[in-house]
């Protein structure tokens, strides 16, 4: 089963890469207009904005594609004119490498923390010798300890409260756990 899956994924991976020159001119304009910000609109890409400037910029892109510029050259052209802020996502290089590396660091760091926490818990579980109640059933619904009956529970709690109260020497001050209290109505 897994062999089939892996080989399928491999086939798909091998066949699936789209390169810039596979795209039509229109597709490249569309692609670039999603990668460039409209300089006069708050937080909108060329593709989203209704501003005249972004129409003009798209016309420039069309011209440059016809002149044979690559996407990277066109991006650089706009960066020169408007600064880095015109790119919808920073290029992965120089200082901006931090922007791209941080997600990887977050993922790996988190994975390390969670893995560690998990191993600790496992160790603690083993140290405690596992839980004692039976778990012969693998059924999803009914795993876990059977709850004590209401009567057992109430009796047990009642006794616990009495013992605690007498232990601290104030037998009549039973705390309001599990009781309807006037105060909250």
């Amino acid at each position: 089963m897994s062999v089939i899956l892996i080989s399928l994924i491999a086939v798909v991976l091998a066949s699936g890469c789209v390169r810039e020159d596979d795209l039509t001119g229109d597709q490249r304009i569309y692609q670039l207009s999603q990668q460039l910000m409209c300089p006069v609109c708050d937080g909108q890409t060329l593709d989203q904005s209704q501003a005249q400037l972004s129409e003009d910029m798209k016309a420039v892109i069309r011209q440059k594609i016809e002149d044979g510029d690559s996407n990277q050259q066109i991006r650089e052209y706009f960066v020169e004119r408007y600064g880095e802020i015109v790119l919808a996502s920073p290029d992965a290089g120089g200082f901006n490498l931090i922007a791209w590396l941080m997600p990887v660091v977050i993922f790996l760091g988190g994975a390390l923390l969670v893995g560690n926490a998990f191993l600790n818990m496992r160790r603690r579980h083993r140290f405690n010798g596992g839980e004692t109640h039976n778990s012969k059933s693998q059924d999803v619904e009914s795993v876990g300890p059977q709850p004590p009956s209401d009567d057992e529970m109430d009796e047990y709690l009642e006794r616990a409260k009495r013992e605690i109260a007498s232990a601290i020497g104030e037998p009549d001050r039973v705390p309001p756990v599990q009781q309807e209290t006037q105060e909250n109505q």
Partner: protein, 701 residues
């Protein structure tokens, strides 16, 4: 009106401050009457917020332009229906709305809190009251919506045109209420922590309110997406804008929380972690409100812009410090009763789910702050928008979908490899079939194929479980299938409600994959009587209508949509392809096979006062794809009168919106109370935790 409003706001300051002080003093001194009084003061705060809100609405209805806020956000021609929208259209009013929402939800939650939670209640009330007092005080001093102006204008300047849409009744108020509402589960968690009675009881009530806020935020975001898609003419529905992100982040953390508290309810584990999660959600919600108030980040949502961003940021820092201190203070007592036994268990899958959700949250937060960071570090402004987030969050979200499929298949505690294999068989087979099918259909986008396979897997995991449950009931109890399904769902509502929400999330995933990977786009200007062809559609521009109003100039393009037989147009398609075009234009001459399938009337409105364009797209939708038409502009030039159209085909977009009702249904079922189940869940908790509560309560008494 302005005086009534201002007085009500100051009263709100007084009663909420009073509530906070009396509750804490009452709890410390052990005087129940003070706590009762403090609780009632919160109801008074609700009354104060209500009075102020009614006063503002009356001011809008009576066109009281002596009040600055009214003059700035409405005018005489504004439809009365939009009074409510104008109410929260800008900073001051939206703050009043937030205060009202928090006061209302606080009162409800206090009213509904179960008696067994009474020891912790004073602290919970105090926390709610402090937050309320903060909002009231900000309203009273820095952002009073009732501020008057000496010169009363004859007419107001009108509401922002982007807000003139029925979607405005739902999207912004839901998001604001959802964000501020996270205060409630936070207050219950912190109240329990401070009081020292934090067994597991706070989780029950925090769960209810966390799910409510989570549902509100989720639906709010979905409506916002729908609104952006239909009205703003972006063609998109989610652009990873900072304001969208700050609503998404608390939602993601709440998602982690409502999964993780299941483990606490069921197995008494993850106690510390759940407190941490609700604290993070609360702080992120504060961050959201702070960014909403303007300041450090650039966003399309700059409606409520003001100088209050910094104040809210300080309040967030205070909340963070507060949460941190009480957590450290109570840390030693927050031990879990049990530990995870096996990596192949429901508990472990929740751990992975929490990890992935927090990774997406952290990465998103990083993307939001990176421009600020870059500016501070090297004085260069950068943008971080959709391309970044799609690339870094996409793979993690894909992993989440896969975990969403595996998690429900794993039983609590541990399982055997054999039993897991048995359960995995059907979903794995189905997703392999999906891959084969897609590749056979010639779809070669790797990520899309993998994503569709993951979605199939997760969906089949849920359906398999439902099918097995129904089959068992039919076989053993001789119930008809429908009845069996109904009883299965209502027998464990939190769980099956959750599965229904999973289906909704998968529906969104289908829409996202379709629109992200397979959208087609063609822009062209055509004259009346000309057509534009893209894929299977011919779009004929019939004519233009226009309407000149005092505040705007509105134009509509009437468009006929035909489905075509591509072979009739093979010549044109070949030329277009040779020229690198996605589509082509032509003078209309109906050819055989053309079939009229619909008419669209997208509009383009120019608002003079605001110098702003607002477009409404024309959408022809079906489950397979949307034909989406935006009139970019109406041109008058040497070629005559033309309309510049942006036409796209957005595959599977409808599934984004189908998710909405499913999401609501699932959330409602998860919330649908089930007293017997609740009782047994409480009893299931070990006696130890109740003893701990009893001891600590006695020590206090």
């Amino acid at each position: 009106m302005d005086q009534i409003g201002t007085i009500a706001i100051w009263l709100g300051v007084a009663v909420s401050a009073y509530a906070a002080v009396t509750c804490i003093l009452g709890a410390r001194a052990g005087i129940p009457e003070m706590i009762v009084s403090g609780r009632r003061a919160v109801y008074m705060a609700l009354l104060a917020a209500l009075v102020a809100s009614v006063a503002l609405i009356v001011a809008f209805i009576t066109n009281d332009f002596s009040i600055k806020y009214v003059a700035n956000n409405s005018n005489i021609v504004m439809g009365r229906g939009y009074t409510l929208v104008a109410f929260y259209a800008a900073n001051e009013g939206s703050l009043l709305y937030i205060t009202l929402a928090l006061a209302l939800m606080s009162s409800i939650s206090i009213r509904l809190s179960p008696p067994r939670f009474s020891v912790a209640m004073p602290y919970t009330i105090a926390i709610l009251a402090v937050v309320l007092a903060f909002f009231f005080a900000t309203l009273a001093t820095l952002a009073n919506p009732f501020e008057t102006q000496p010169i009363v204008p004859a007419d107001g300047s009108g509401i922002n045109p982007l807000l003139l849409h029925p979607g405005m009744y739902s999207h912004p108020p839901l998001i604001m209420a959802g964000l501020v509402g996270i205060t409630i589960p936070f207050a219950f968690a912190s109240g329990a922590l401070i009081s020292g009675v934090y067994g597991d009881d706070w989780v029950d009530i925090a769960r209810v309110f966390a799910i409510v806020m989570w549902g509100i935020l989720g639906i709010g975001m979905l409506l916002g997406a729908w609104w952006a898609y239909t009205i703003l003419g972006w063609g998109g529905y989610w652009s990873w804008d900072p304001i969208e992100n700050v609503a998404l982040m608390p939602w993601l953390v709440l998602t982690a929380f409502i999964h993780s508290i299941m483990v606490q309810r069921r197995r008494g584990m993850f106690r510390m972690w759940n407190i941490v999660l609700i604290n993070i959600a609360f702080v992120l919600a504060q961050l959201g409100m702070s960014i909403n108030r303007g300041g450090s980040v650039v966003s399309v949502h700059s409606f409520a812009e003001s100088s209050l961003g910094l104040l809210f940021l300080s309040f967030m820092a205070l909340s963070l410090a507060f949460a941190f201190v009480i957590f450290i203070w109570r840390y030693p007592r927050l031990r879990s009763e049990r530990a995870i036994e096996s990596f192949m268990s429901r508990e472990a899958s929740f751990l992975v789910n929490n990890f992935l959700l927090l990774v997406v949250t952290s990465i998103t937060l990083w993307g939001v702050v990176y421009p600020v960071f870059s500016n501070l570090a090297r004085d260069i402004d950068v943008s971080v928008a959709a391309p970044y987030f799609n690339r870094v969050n996409g793979p993690v979200l894909l992993l989440l979908v896969i975990v969403m499929g595996i998690g429900p298949l794993l039983p609590w505690r541990r399982t055997t490899t054999r039993s897991l294999q048995r359960w995995l068989l059907v979903p794995a087979a189905a997703s392999s079939l999906t891959v084969i099918g897609l590749v056979a259909f010639g779809i070669t986008e790797v990520w899309a194929v993998v994503a569709f396979a993951a979605v199939t897997f997760a969906a089949l995991a849920v359906f398999e479980e439902w099918w097995m449950g129904v089959r068992a009931r039919v076989r053993n109890l001789r119930e008809p299938h429908v009845v069996a399904f109904w009883r299965l769902i209502s027998g464990n509502r939190p769980r099956h409600g959750g599965y229904i929400v999973h289906i909704a999330v998968l529906s969104v995933a289908v829409g996202v994959i379709g629109t992200q990977f397979f959208d087609q786009r063609f822009d062209a200007a055509i004259a009346e009587g000309e057509s534009l062809v893209l894929e299977d559609y011919r779009i004929e521009y019939v004519d233009r209508r226009s309407h000149d109003r005092p505040d705007r100039f509105a134009q509509w393009a009437r468009i006929d949509v035909y489905e075509i037989d591509q072979s009739q147009y093979s010549n044109e398609f070949n030329i277009a392809e040779a020229n690198g075009k996605a589509g082509f234009t032509l003078t209309t001459q109906p050819r055989p096979g053309d079939k009229l399938v619909g008419q669209l009337e997208p509009s383009h409105e120019f608002f003079r006062n605001f110098n702003q364009v607002s477009v409404r797209s024309g959408i022809k939708t079906n489950p397979v794809e949307d034909l989406y038409v935006i009139p970019r502009d109406f041109l008058q030039d040497e070629k005559g009168e033309r309309v510049s159209l942006a036409v796209s085909i957005n595959p599977l977009a409808m599934w984004l919106w189908i998710a909405g009702p499913i999401f609501l249904l699932g959330t409602a079922i998860a919330l649908w109370p089930h007293p017997a189940l609740e009782r047994s869940a409480r009893r299931r908790r070990s006696i130890d935790s109740q003893i701990v509560d009893t001891v600590s309560a006695t020590m206090k008494a």
